[in-house]
Each structure stands twice: as C-alpha cells, then as structure tokens.
Symmetry: C3
Subunit: 313 residues, 3 copies
C-alpha cells in the first residue's frame, strides 16, 4: 500500500499525517492555507476542547514536542506527554502496546517520534479506527510538519506559485528526514529548480535525489537561488568519519555572508534548528535580514495546529 | 486504627482512598456505579475547575500517572506532576515535607505512589484537614484504583452479582499490590469462588490468601473459571531465584489459548499491564476475543475520575 | 544601565522582574498588595486565558517551577515546561537561541532560572519587545519572587510598617540569592534593623552587607529580633571546607527552641525550603507555632501570580 493511501481515507480525507511523499497537492495546500489563516487570525474558540493529544516520543526532542504542545493548547486540547525514551515504566512493553494503552485512555490524537524508519506508519496501521497519528519524525524518512512549515515560510516570502523558485538544500541530506520531507513538498508544489549540495559522504544513494541538481561545490550551488535551506550537522558525523572536522565543514559548507551574496538579491535562508552557529551557519546570516529561521518556528505552531485540527476537528 | 477508618470520615464519607481492605460495600459500589456512568455518558462540565491535582510519585510509573492525569483533565482540574523518583530538588527533604509544601500551594488532591508499604496512609494521616490522598500503589500492600477498575471490568462482562462468579488470580501474588486489592474487592463484593495460582515461591505467607483456594497447578486452577486475572512477572524474581527462568515460567504459568480452553466457555482474561508477552501471557490470548485488557485501561480513567470527584467534588 | 532601568519601561511600568535591587518601593508595594488580594480573594476569571507561560530552567528546581506553574494555572494561562538542565535536545544551542525559539512559538512570559549571575538579565536584554522574563533565581545574585514572598509573609505577621522591625538573616549568605533579594527588599521597605549571622567563611566580601549588623555569634544575633530568616545549608559547603561538619554547624548556627527564646516573644521564623531538619533548623521550630514556613509557600503562589499578571495582563 502506498503511504498516501495509508494516510488518506477512501474519500481522500486525511486520517494520519505520516509523510509528504504522495500527499496530494490539494490536501497539502489546504493545510498550508489553514495554517496561514491561523498565523493571520489565530484560532477562534477551542475546537478541540475535551479532547486529548498525546506526544509519544520514542526519541527525545524537546522543541518539536513543545511546538506540538503549544499547537494543541491553542486548539483547547488537553495534552499528555509520554517520553518513551526515558520512561522506566514501559518495562519492555512494545511501542504498539504503549500506543494501544494510551488510546484506551480515550486519547484520539498522537504525535509520534521514533528512531526507526517506518515505525510511525506501522503504528498508524495498527491503531484503532478513530485514532489519528502525526509523524513527528521517523528515522531518516520523514518529518512532514517540518516540510509543511518550511513550505509555509517559503510561500510567505516568495508567493504561492513556486514554479519560478530556485531552492537549494545544503548539508547532511543522507541522514535527514527534514530534507526528504522538504524534497517531497517542493516537488508536489512544483518548485522550478531544486538543488542539493553536500559532500559525497552526506548524499543519499537511493532515489531521494531524483530530479534534483546535485552539487558538491557550495559556491556554485548558491548561484542565483531564491532560497537556501540549511540542515543541521550532527556531531556524530565526525565520529563516523563522514566529515573531517567542524572547521573543514564550515570552510566548505558553512553559510557565510560572503557566500550568501552569490544567491539572488532577495534570497531567504531557512534552518530547522537547533543551529550549530559557526559550523553550518554564521551568526551574521542566522541573525541577518534574510534569515527566516524564527519565522519557521512561529509557522511550526500554526502548521501543527492546522494538522491536528484537520485530523481531530 | 483500622485502614477503613483512616479513609472514611465519621459520617462514612470517603476522605482518602488508601486501600480496598475494609472499604464498605456500599462505598465501593457507589464508586463503581459512578465510574460506569462516566463510561456511558462522560463527565458533564468541569466539576473540578479551578482545583489542582498533584501526582506525587516516589516510585516511577508513567502509565498509572497518565491515567490519573487524564481522569483529572476530564474533570476540568489542573494537574501538577511531581516525580520524586527523579527530582534532584527534593534534596533530602522528607516525603511529608514535600507533601506539605505542595499542599501549601493550594493543592487539595494528591495521587501518591510509594515503594514502602503504608507510606501513603502515613502521609494521609499527617495531611491537612481538607487534603485528599489517593493511593496509586504502596509497596506490596494496595493499589485500590486498580482493584476498582478490575471490578468494573468484571461487572461489565459478568453482571453486578458476583455470587456465582469463579475467579482465579495467577502469578506473583506474594509481591503484588494489584492482587491484594483485587482480593479485598472480590471478597467485599461477594465473589462466589476465589482461586489463586502460583508457584510456592510467589505465594504470600501471611493472611492475604484467607478464604482462597490455592493452586500450584495452573491447568487445575483454570478448570471452569469465569475470569482469569493474570499478574505481571517482574524480571527481578529471576535474579532473586524465585523463578527458574522465563521459559520455565511460561511453561508452567503462561496463559496460552490451549490452557484458556479449560476455563468456562465465556471466560474473560484480565491483566494490569504492562504485559510480558510470551512470558505470563501469549499474544493470541492478550489480543484475542476473551481479553478485556484494553477495556481495563479505559475503565481505569473512569474509575479514577469517579474517585477524584468523590474526594474533591 | 541600572538593573532597575532594565526591568522598568520609561513610564516606570514593570517589563521584567529581574531583581529587587533598585525596584522602586511603590512598584514593590503594589505587587505585595495585589498578592495579598489574591491570598484573600483568589483570582477572578482567567485573566491570562489563551496566553502561555514557559518555565525555562537551566538549573533544576521542582518546587519553584511548580509554584510558578500553579500561579500561571490560577491565572488561566497555559504552561510549557522546558527543562534545559536535562534536555538532550538543546544540542549545544545557546540559551538565547532557546529563548528566541520558544518566544517564536508565541510565548510571551518566561520564568527563567540559571546558574550564572546575570544570565537572566542578559536574556531579558536580548528578548523581543513584547516578552517578559521573571528571574526565578540566577547564580548568587537574585531570586526576587522569593524576596517578595518573604516580605508578604512578614507583612502578614508584623504589619505593613517595617520601620520598627528587627530581622536577622542566618546562614550561608555568601552563596545565597535568597539572602540578597531579602536584603534588597528589607532595605527598600525600610526595615528598622537588619542583622546577618554566619561564620566568616559564609559571609560575602562585597557590598551585599552594607548597612547590616554582622554577627558570628548566633545567640547574640537573635537577641530581641522580631523575625528570624533561616537559609538552607548546601551540603557542598562541607566538601568545599567552608563548614567543618553538619553537627558543628547545627551546634553553632542551628535554630533550636532554646535559641529561639532569645528572640522577641512573638518572633516569627522563615525558611525558603527545602529544609535540612536537624542541621540549620530543628523539627520543634520548623513545625512550631512561630514557624511561617508553609505560609511562605502559600504566599509564593500568590506573589508569582501577581508578578505574572503585572507583566502579562
């Protein structure tokens, strides 16, 4: 079964949000439109009052969890947090038993992060009929609300029509669920030109990059782009020998003001956070006028509220 | 002083819920009736709006804590969580000082778990006049809301009249507060026949089993019963030498489909969770049509809401 | 820039609460009056409904965090907790990036604790225009809501006019932000006589004690005082060699009933908690009729609600 079928019901309504891969453009645009309305006008009333949303994190992430928590609060939902990465009380219980138990407590909405690719989709396939899951990141596969918030941020800066947009995604694409969700969304929304840039050791070897222009030279990749989407460099890439040093990475793939001038005059800069300042991005850029990084965070709450509302409203 | 006197005021009204031992049958049945009404019709409005309930856990338990949290949320109460098992800020403070401090913050309802037998009753005895404690498990002594939710689950399946009911409790009764609270409740509600089954090493040597039929042969114990109440096997029993091996335990005391056929045709299966699948219970049974395990979890929220409402409403 | 200017806007309105040092007496008294009204009459309605308050703790403190959480709940605010002391997800992010991110999620109120002196003021200086910070303790410098709740407690016991009040602060003043905030407040409110008492090793060597009478003999320091404000002895003072032993500290600086009789007949005893019973304070005193220690905790919620309301209402 296609992922898109798993997350849509027979009438094409969203049942879960697992991936942006195959998510129909009208569904994606409806979510973005609703998120934009929440940015502009807030949420009226408490559409999810009396309902509970559980953040079920098998891999820790304070910031993504807080963003979803704030989104649920803005909808008037109660929030339950289950930190499976530290809970000593799961006591060897399977992830599915944990989900089913919390489901039995009357919780219909789950925000799930898991280190294994496909784990959230597997849980969704086994969940009850009325239960909705949002993938808050699984392995290297998908982080769909990050992809949506990045698209919302690009739309605000560059307009709804992406057909003339030149975008470059820079960094550890190989291990990044953010990059994969961004690529899925950019393709669906018809971005004019999608570039990726990384050292060969950080490029995926599967079909992830189909249709992208691949660069290893950052200066060339930046030439004339409208948006630069930076990725976080995980320090374990050094330990794994995939990157020689932080200094070397910064020299070749760090976004400096000098480099940014190669992009289009009005080019914008995105980063999913948390940033390694001085490694993949310089302070001047991160805090400069072209940076949309804090706008991304603000959009994240609105996107997540739109998704939870669509699933549970 | 009798436990029942500690938890009832002179008019027989519930002040705390510490144990089911000695809890009068009308009080117990009123709680079960109210919980059933919550299962059937939900909670109207927010009867505890403006009040705060604190989960004060000196022993970790994510699931029980979440169940109480959800119950408090359904009543419209604010929830404060104090995880005394990991808090570095108690800094050697006594449990009583911790309780009194949170009490002074204006919190009237406490859900307390503690590793020591009697610790929750001691705290209740020292608490302020308007404060109500719910024992969420103390040592091996009592876990009264688990006992109540098990009784609610049995009532739903078998009717309110337990006089013809044959029940067997299986597993580590010696170390189990769940078993003790179930036994207290089954006796009070007049269960027709109460059997227990365990290897001798896991049987209590005190008065816990008074009036029970004791089996060490699981097949014999199952013969004709209407309900099988399984207990979780803690892995430390192996380290303590009380159980030879997980495989041996499963062979002698694991509930398989083949074994379950010895029980009555409509027999139901309960387990307090989390389950050790393949040790005390097989997947086929746990996920089969006779299993009420997820119903127990759902009932847990309703029972806890009924208890909190009775104490704080 | 003076701290008082950092926390007041040009119209003299409170923008942040960073320290009591230099906080104008009318501002301080207005907060105390409002807190007293909350003690007497509660909070009407939900003045902060729809707003979010984030507890951002770079140093752990369950009790102070809970007190602020309860205060925010009483105002109807949503609460987000960010425990930066254990979060693995800050991943080297700066405190300022963490603040800015949560700010971007639409959170305007922050309750911040940090181990470094001045860290909260630095964050406040860099925060957005609409953001308000409450210092919940920074290094040894300030813990202003503790100072305010201590003043509220003294006012309730001794009246609003402190001009005839004799107060002694006892213990590890050198390392105590509580002592510093108490000293700032006592001076501003015109306390008649301020004494401090500690072994020389626990006295500050800076301007903290300007205008105080300094004692190393506890018996002499207690003579005729109206209020005894005890401090917690951190056990690391032993390891650092600043205090010879717990027994020796108790002998010289422990508040016993016998010692308390040297104070005025109606003298009251305060302690910020958590107490080391049998070290700096005896059970008889802590639980005796002159102790206001639990009253302090109750006042803490009201003071914090008054502060959050003043900043965010």
């Amino acid at each position: 079964m296609e992922p898109m079928n798993e997350q849509l019901d027979p009438d094409g309504r969203l049942r879960h949000l697992l991936t942006l891969d195959g998510l129909p453009r009208p569904v994606m645009e409806a979510l973005l439109d609703r998120a934009q309305a929440i940015v502009d006008h807030g949420v009226a009333g408490a559409p999810l009052a009396g309902q509970a949303v559980c953040t079920l994190f098998f891999e820790p992430s304070t910031r993504t969890r807080m963003s979803f928590q704030r989104a649920a609060q803005r909808l008037g939902a109660d929030v339950l947090a289950f930190d499976a990465s530290t809970s000593s009380t799961t006591k060897g219980e399977t992830a599915l038993d944990t989900l089913r138990n919390i489901e039995a407590m009357g919780v219909r909405g789950f925000v799930v992060r898991h280190a294994a690719d496909g784990a959230v989709a597997s849980l969704a396939a086994a969940a009850g009929a009325g239960t909705a899951l949002v993938n808050a990141g699984d392995g290297r596969s998908a982080h769909p609300t990050q992809g949506l918030l990045d698209m919302l941020t690009l739309r605000q800066a560059k307009g709804r029509d992406f057909s003339a947009l030149k975008v470059v995604i820079v960094g550890d694409i190989r291990h990044s669920r953010v990059a994969r969700s961004d690529l899925h969304a950019l393709r669906t929304l018809g971005a004019g030109e999608i570039r990726v840039c990384a050292p060969a050791s950080l490029l995926p070897t599967d079909a992830t990059l189909d249709g992208c222009q691949v660069f290893d030279d950052f200066d060339a990749a930046l030439d004339g782009v409208d948006a630069v989407m930076m990725l976080r460099l995980q320090r374990e890439r050094m330990e794994e020998g995939l990157v020689p040093s932080l200094e070397g990475y910064h020299r070749d793939y760090g976004l400096t003001m000098a480099r940014l001038r190669r992009a289009a005059a009005e080019a914008v800069v995105l980063h999913p956070g948390p940033m390694n300042r001085g490694v993949e991005i310089d302070d001047e850029v991160a805090d400069g006028p072209q940076s949309l990084i804090l706008r991304q965070v603000a959009n994240g709450v609105a996107v997540r509220a739109a998704v939870l509302e669509a699933l549970l409203g």
